[in-house]
Assembly symmetry: C2
Homo-oligomer: 338 residues x 2
DNA sequence: TTGAAAGCGCTAACAG
DNA sequence: CTGTTAGCGCTTTCAA
């Protein structure tokens, strides 16, 4: 691999000059000299070493993303949004999954610091213990968080309380009185907010809160299925279920099938997120849409501002929108409703 | 940010000594001295700078992944497999999506070279033009490819020909004679192999190949839906469809609904990949299972061997397995069949 | 307009 | 067992 000295030698100039033409600096360099250098560069297929440059400039043009699991379509969509913006701005992105690994977030924060990442975006997962908090402290000024408000960073959020509220209201308007809830795990602020919204709508509509109708899952289809089974086998089964994400909603629908319940006639189901495949299910899934791609993109834009020292909004709040489809309302299905 | 000199000063030793205790080298260092250094390190919260180390050792403990799109669950699953192995081995992973961007693969190969990535894994997408080939040439010895055999790198493959063959055979055994095929785009070796397997099974079973029954899509649900519509509206509609991936199969099933065709009674559908949500669909999707996570993991293991100079197998071939579910066979649905 | 030289933070001989 | 020193490849004053 050719380095800057090789180029300098071949072009018969100093490495300083090579550096100048490579970086298109404002520093004047004679056109003829520039040509010689350019020729040497292409002949040697020279590419500047980003490590050396990063060491000197204290800027690596790399940011890190810390999420629970990329194979969860919710995070995949967010990551895509981040990458689209990062890539356009010339930043590379390293990805880190926290689940199934001890140490969780802290481990990757340290790793990213060692690698001199210019910034970190994290989403989901549970921040554990005080140690982590201090670690996050040193990141101040170069981290953005998506979907949680328990740490002091610029945040891109979505109004989960309102979203869950919309879901329940929709069901209530449809005549449902016994509405079950399959929530997320303890410790997740997203799960908490969605539960709060569920209860809020219940209260407003004068529906009595039945603790047995509320379950806590782990976001995946299996847990939605299992919890759906629990909910449905009780004597006083709900006529509708709100799941805290689409994956669990799919599981709940599967459970309904086991009990030979028709969806939406015997059981209405509302999901959360609006994952790409939701509109292809049968029945198509009614869900609370979260603009995941846009949120990912917004978080990266905020990080970009943070990095370049521009002012950033402390909280960027996105709104949810209810996507009504076949899992709550029987409708003539003609074509794809996206 | 404290550096090695800060630590050395505080511990009243030389930076060489600090380096020795940090790297736990075999070089002997007095226990008492080690303690002093360790104390200084934790007091200053010192972490070695990976850039400086990488510059010197020519090893960054970072590899790059180049894929078309992380929001496609097929790739998300592969990436997860890669990351699980990479992470366990201490490697960080940078992710790059090629679609919607000019330059495609070449652009990222260059970027990864600048950043001194220790290796590259790529999957999917179309390698374009001769320029790219030469770029790939310089990577020899540090790249692994998943699911394609048109470039000369160690490859992790899956027998796509056999998989498509299995799908068609399954349909034929069920009594289907008019079997449609929704394939992938031109230029994709995966798409080609699956088409070859389809035709192969047709020939073996003496089924006449009808060109109009073969369509080429773009892997996403929308294209499966559109092509499914085309296939189904002809006068001589197929009684079964094999889609080259699950996403398009979901789209085709949606199309069947539009024509009020029951699945599997009026139209049997087989997908490809076995994406996580397939078993939650109604009907659950019969599909040709590809061990995506394992393939991702295997590719990273191969890359690890490549990096450490160990011998590697030129081709690691995985087999497909047919997952028979409700979209081809009417069965008593009890519980989840995964 | 060009070049020389000082580092960025770290590892690895080589001395002592 | 510990310290000194020469770079890894690059950018950036400061001189010329």
């Amino acid at each position: 691999m050719a380095n800057i000295l090789d180029v300098a030698l071949k072009a018969k100039v100093s490495i300083a000059t090579v550096s100048r033409v490579v970086n298109k600096s404002d520093h004047k360099v004679n056109p003829a000299t520039r040509e010689k250098v350019l020729a040497a560069i292409s002949e040697l297929d020279y590419r500047p070493n980003a490590l050396a440059k990063g060491l000197l400039k204290k800027k690596t043009m790399t940011i890190g993303i810390i999420i629970p699991d990329i194979s969860n379509p919710y995070y995949a969509e967010i990551v895509r949004g981040i990458q689209d913006v990062a890539d356009a701005a010339g930043y590379a992105v390293t990805l880190h999954n926290t689940d199934k690994r001890k140490g969780g977030i802290a481990r990757y924060v340290y790793l990213l610091r060692e690698k001199s990442a210019d910034g970190i975006i994290f989403s989901g997962g549970i921040i554990d213990g005080g140690e982590t908090v201090s670690i996050l402290g040193e990141l101040r000024g170069k981290a953005v968080v998506i979907g949680r408000h328990d740490v002091d960073f610029p945040a891109v959020m979505v109004d989960n309380v309102e979203g869950a509220d919309q879901a329940v209201q929709h069901l209530f308007d449809l005549g449902h009185g016994r509405i079950g809830f399959i929530g997320g795990p303890d410790g997740s602020t997203t799960a908490l907010d969605r539960l709060v919204g569920y209860k809020k709508a219940l209260v407003r509509n004068g529906i009595k809160h039945v603790p047995g109708l509320v379950k806590k899952g782990t976001w995946n289809p299996e847990s939605g299925y299992l919890l759906g089974m629990e909910l449905l086998q009780g004597k006083a089964r709900p006529t509708a279920i709100v799941a805290a994400n689409d994956q669990m909603a799919f599981g709940a629908i599967k459970a309904a099938k086991v009990f030979a319940l028709r969806v939406p006639e015997d059981l209405a189901v509302v999901g959360f997120d609006d994952v790409p495949l939701g509109s292809y299910f049968d029945p198509a899934l009614t869900t609370v849409k979260i603009p995941m791609h846009d949120m990912g993109a917004a978080s990266m834009m905020t990080l970009l501002n943070l990095i370049s020292g521009k002012p950033v909004e402390k909280i960027r709040l996105f709104r949810t929108t209810l996507q009504v489809r076949g899992s709550t309302v029987k409708l003539l299905e003609k074509g794809i409703k996206k």
